[in-house]
Subunit: 247 residues, 2 copies
Amino acid sequence: MTAYRKELDILLSMCASLHEKSTSPKLINKEQFPPIFTFEGLAGSGKSTQIKLVTEKLEQEYGKPAYLEVPNHSGVAKVLRTLYQDQKNYTKLQEEVPWLNPLFVMVDLYTKLQQITEEGYNYIFMSRGLFSTLYYNLEAFERAGNTPKEAWDEIYFLCTEFIRPKATIFLDIPIETALLRIEQRNRLPKRESDTEEGLQRSLKSFQMIFEQFSGEVPIHYVSGVGAEMDVTKRICNEIKPYLRGIK
Amino acid sequence: MTAYRKELDILLSMCASLHEKSTSPKLINKEQFPPIFTFEGLAGSGKSTQIKLVTEKLEQEYGKPAYLEVPNHSGVAKVLRTLYQDQKNYTKLQEEVPWLNPLFVMVDLYTKLQQITEEGYNYIFMSRGLFSTLYYNLEAFERAGNTPKEAWDEIYFLCTEFIRPKATIFLDIPIETALLRIEQRNRLPKRESDTEEGLQRSLKSFQMIFEQFSGEVPIHYVSGVGAEMDVTKRICNEIKPYLRGIK
């Protein structure tokens, strides 16, 4: 057994004892939250832009959706952001506590979901989410001393607590288009994942993850090329069937 | 309810679900570990020195005790140390996640305890521990928006999972002696807790905490002034009755 898994088991065990003794409301009821639609896609695929446009197009008929992104503004999110500050140290740290990011992202997510639910939203758009969390952390579980299969099993186990989206929109763009848009955006510092090789790896990884979830979460591939309003229309066509009866 | 408590409840709830689904060994059995003797006292009271001397004096008759200090070398300990690096940010962070330090210290402690137990030690000497963890974190629970009573209840609740020492040796020295020894040691940067006022507050805080645990953990006040070997003898006199039957 890896060293981190011993620590994780201790944490789970301790928290289970504390949870039992706690007078606070018991387990999270995942049914209580409004349906979540997650937008995934390569850098430059237009996730933020399209979430804004799709929101504008749908809000009159179905009400305004909540917008969600993790990590958000919770305490655990701030812990993660503090740890990210020194990327070199964080990469090493991840090998020792690969479970920390997925676990804290989930706490952050449920904190925000409780708030959104209290605020009375009927549905939620989320930039990235379950699949990006799996994608961004999977490699750390390998570096921590697992085979690829073990790494997957470990992170999949952790993410059993991650709320499943009602559906996922995967904004599909050719790698050349992603590269071009990244160039135009010119965000610094350049990330390794924003190179041609990085994008190819990223795409392969997403496909692998989606396959694992086929049957569990509907994935809608939507072409992200062409005029913005055409992309918006295509996305709305995929989402609308899920929204029947909402509001 | 404070914001951090909502997050903590979510974490506990999620971890409880994961623990239930996990195939790993179930709850921590606190009975499986060798008895722990913790050494507490003001800065300069001689904890490290006396642990060394008492170990030398007792090991022939009772076997070598394990030495334990938290945070240790676990992954969660490294997370804590990374967060400590920027003290100003950490102080603010503590208000948002006051539960993080006690929880991770406990994970760190049990990780080390499992290792010590496997290595076959019969008893354990620990510098600081339960009481210092309560002492160092209590104030953060107040800053997070609790009354002193609520702050105590919150941290006490968390620390129900903290293993209780068999007994605690409180190395008792006058504040003037502590100041003198701190001066001689001349560790930089000077900490606020190492001033006369800080030491007085520290002493009062320990007394309050010990009162809360009277009946639960025997606290032995041992004078830490005079010749080192005399102090050692006094400590051994307090510990020996607990060691009867060991080895």
